[in-house]
């Protein structure tokens, strides 16, 4: 969704030159996380002290692998968007700021991707 004026778009205004898009995604991922997180808290309670066999059974059950993957994706997406704002607000050096933002985005993609791959392996075996 485009919320900037044509003039603002041409000038590339905003803290990272796409402020409204960032803001909008933060809300969308936040809304998506409400049901996902509530689902996960219920699941995590039931997995307290579980062994690998029990965990694998739970991960592979009906909709669980899909919901868990969606949770991981949305959580890392929402988290890196939030950390980016915090870094932009408090880090003054442009180079450090850029480095930190790239580092958190790469970490989110690597750990998010790795976890979702792990969910697939646990679901399909191997």
């Amino acid at each position: 969704m485009e919320m900037r004026s044509p003039l603002g778009r041409v000038r590339g205004l905003g803290s990272t030159n796409n402020g409204s898009g960032h803001w909008w995604l933060q809300r969308i991922t936040g809304i998506a996380l409400v049901p996902l997180v509530i689902w996960f808290v219920f699941a995590a309670i039931n997995l307290a002290g579980a062994d690998l066999a029990q965990f694998k059974t739970w991960v592979g059950t009906s909709g669980n692998p899909v919901l868990l993957s969606l949770l991981i994706f949305t959580m890392f997406h929402h988290g890196q968007l939030g950390l980016q704002v915090v870094i932009e607000d408090y880090v003054q050096s442009e180079l450090t700021k850029l480095g930190l933002i790239i580092a958190i985005k790469f970490s989110a993609i690597i750990f998010g991707g790795y976890s979702i791959f792990a969910v697939m392996r646990l679901t399909f075996g191997g």
């Binding site: 062994d51 950390l83 792990a118």
Partner: protein, 131 residues
């Protein structure tokens, strides 16, 4: 520069903390904590692909007194950020901006955080049998 000795605004050290400002910064702090929590979640899921011993190690660490302390903090942070996030979404559609409403919703978020955290941990202990 003539501006060098000017006071900074807002001067947090002398500014009286209020419910609104304290909840605002808490939202940010819990958000940062939860972003690190996402890596804990990732580590937990990934450990399961390294076999029973690796998963047992991850479960053991999370179940240790320190692990439980971290998870308890994460639970508090999660329910606060969830409740206050919904409060923010209401503001985003222009609802609840009057000061009395802001105060009421703030206390509601705090109550929600405490009640949900307590319920979650009672439930978790009843599942794990206090082990």
């Amino acid at each position: 520069m003539a501006s060098r000795n000017r006071p900074l605004s807002p001067h947090l050290q002398v500014y009286k903390p209020q419910l609104t400002s304290v909840l605002s910064i808490t939202h940010r702090m819990t958000g940062v904590a939860l972003a690190f929590g996402a890596f804990l979640l990732a580590n937990w899921v990934i450990s399961a692909t390294y076999g029973a011993d690796a998963f047992a190690l991850a479960q053991g660490l999370l179940g240790s007194w320190f692990g439980r302390l971290v998870l308890f903090g994460m639970t508090l942070a999660l329910f606060f950020h969830l409740g206050n996030g919904i409060r923010h979404l209401a503001w985003d559609i222009g609802k609840g901006f009057e000061l009395p409403q802001v105060r009421t919703s703030g206390y509601l978020v705090l109550a929600f955080t405490v009640i949900m955290t307590v319920i979650t941990w009672i439930a978790a202990y009843s599942v794990a049998g206090g082990s």
